[in-house]
Symmetry: C2
Subunit: 333 residues, 2 copies
């Protein structure tokens, strides 16, 4: 196992210490229990946006805490759900009187623990709503999930709801907007290599030198098929077609196109994928109104890529363009 | 070789096509010869900033073209210097009457070709100056270099000079400022794994499962020593100590600290390195006034990290904070 770490047990704690040291102007970190929170939380008059999930997907979610995006993020151990007490404490820290919206990726442990935390927060008199992401078209049910997995759409969801919350949108409308985004976005990913969870010390699965896994999840869960490695253009077709046909995206749709790296794939390759994805979108009569290219929801050092598309009307595009100031996503501020 | 590419010969062209498609709001790409240029070039009354180098280090340099940073970037083939005709055409495209400043990493081919291009541009009546980066303290002379290699400081140089040029600083002052930045910054890097140049098809060197290379260059050139893999904290000491003692950085200095990933290293590990680097800086009485954490000057999918420190007075910090709007570095715009 070749990693820049000190010991497997301390990976999450030490990463959070680094995050806090690097971005103390924007966020602070609680270490008991673990959560990352806007430095100025709770922000008066604003619904608090809370997310979280297993570590190993950085910058998701801690790197998205800041004005215009999340108020707090709860990191679990690597590829392990955070616990309800983390979400409970983080929820209290960001509640300014107007409630808390949870953004939850559809994994069994995450859903259960966010539900428990919501109950605990409600017992404190805090209004709580939740929106789910389950955008991965690759498989129904999987190793950690009933239903579809929440993947790349989560990044877009956090940006868009973050902008809406920052503008003062109330809790019930944020919940409705989140449900609309959930219904309008789809994703699919693939891997060239596995990744190694630090405390396991060996790759989570094996891929031969000429093999790839199409439809993989962000924890290395099996996908649709293992097959011989082919060209970037063919791989991009294999990701785009299921995404387009599932929603379905239709001629004339405006979309946000997100080409994501899995952690170990260099940017030069992501732009080669973007090139083909844009060509396929054009062939289907889709207009790419905004895009995002980079490694934003990762699987440690896994090599591979995923594609997310979100149908977006002008109101969503305005939210996309609104200022954001987080460690990993920043513009207009 | 596991890469998201179509054919080794087309990697650079297709990456540039993707870059142009994704960022047409900010830049355009010339394909004959290859260069990336601000969409609104030449910008009246502003010195044109030109850089370039071999591909494979993305987002450097094409991802740094835009308001507040570079006016143009010339990509060579992977790990191969661009040619003088690229720089000549790019230089003409960005010259608005106030001259062109070249930012050149110290590699023999880059220096020679930028020098030739400068001569060609001067024959056209365009004033040209050049600043060099040679910040890598690891080795004197190496596979591709006489003297020290230009590495991470190049990213900071492009940001700072880009801000100064945007504010209207004339050519001679930009040159002097660039020389001051060159004299005030130092870097060192290490690798856990090699990388594979597409048209070669096999790793550029071999590292055993328990080995790392300390002092490596951004093309996989040999470093100071190959040694058994150790902890992130010890590795960070091995990078920080030579950087600090070489300049030397002294108690009371304000610095910009840049922890860079080599392309295949996930962000979670970079923050673990940042944590220790910040502790070491504090031990030496240095104040980290600004920082940058991410993969900005890479070696394809190489796993590893480098550390750059730049001594910065308030004027440099103001330039750092100035708005920038490029594909890879963006704030305040």
């Amino acid at each position: 196992m070749k990693k820049l770490i000190n010991s497997p047990e301390n990976v999450v704690r030490e990463e959070l210490e680094g995050l806090q040291l690097a971005h103390a102007d924007r966020l602070r970190v609680s270490f008991d229990p673990f959560y990352v929170v806007r430095r100025d939380a709770p922000v008066k008059g604003k619904v608090g946006l809370l997310s979280g999930g297993g570590s190993g997907h950085e910058p998701l979610h801690g790197g998205f805490v800041g004005p215009g995006m999340l108020d707090a993020a709860c990191p679990g151990h690597v590829f392990t759900s955070p616990t309800p007490d983390q979400m409970f404490e983080a929820g209290k820290a960001i509640h300014s009187g107007t409630g808390v919206l949870q953004i939850v990726k559809n994994y069994t442990g995450d859903v259960m623990n966010f539900d428990l935390a919501a109950e605990m927060l409600r017992e404190e008199g805090i209004a709580v709503e939740s929106v789910l992401t389950d955008d991965d078209v690759a498989v129904e049910d999987s190793l950690y999930t009933a239903g579809r997995r929440g993947v790349g759409l989560t990044v877009l969801m956090e940006k868009l709801l973050g902008a809406a919350a920052q503008k003062g949108m109330p809790l019930d409308q944020l919940k409705a907007l989140g449900d609309k985004i959930r219904a309008s976005g789809r994703s699919m990913g693939m891997a060239l290599t596995p990744c190694t969870v630090p405390h396991l010390g060996k790759p989570s699965f094996e891929l031969a030198e000429n093999e790839m896994e199409v439809g993989i999840g962000i924890h290395g869960e099996p996908g649709r098929k293992r097959m011989p490695l082919t060209s970037a253009d063919q791989i991009t077709e294999m990701l785009m077609e299921p995404v387009i046909s599932d929603l379905p995206f239709r001629k004339g749709d405006q979309v946000i196109l997100f080409v994501n790296g899995m952690g170990g794939t260099p940017l030069i390759e992501l732009y080669i994928v973007y090139r083909k994805a844009a060509e396929i979108a054009a062939r289907h009569g889709l207009t790419i109104s905004r895009n995002l290219v980079g490694s934003y929801i990762t699987s440690l050092e896994m090599a591979g890529a995923s594609i997310t598309m979100l149908r977006a009307d002008d109101a969503l595009l305005d939210l996309w363009d609104a200022p954001v100031n987080t460690p990993a996503l920043r513009w207009g501020a």
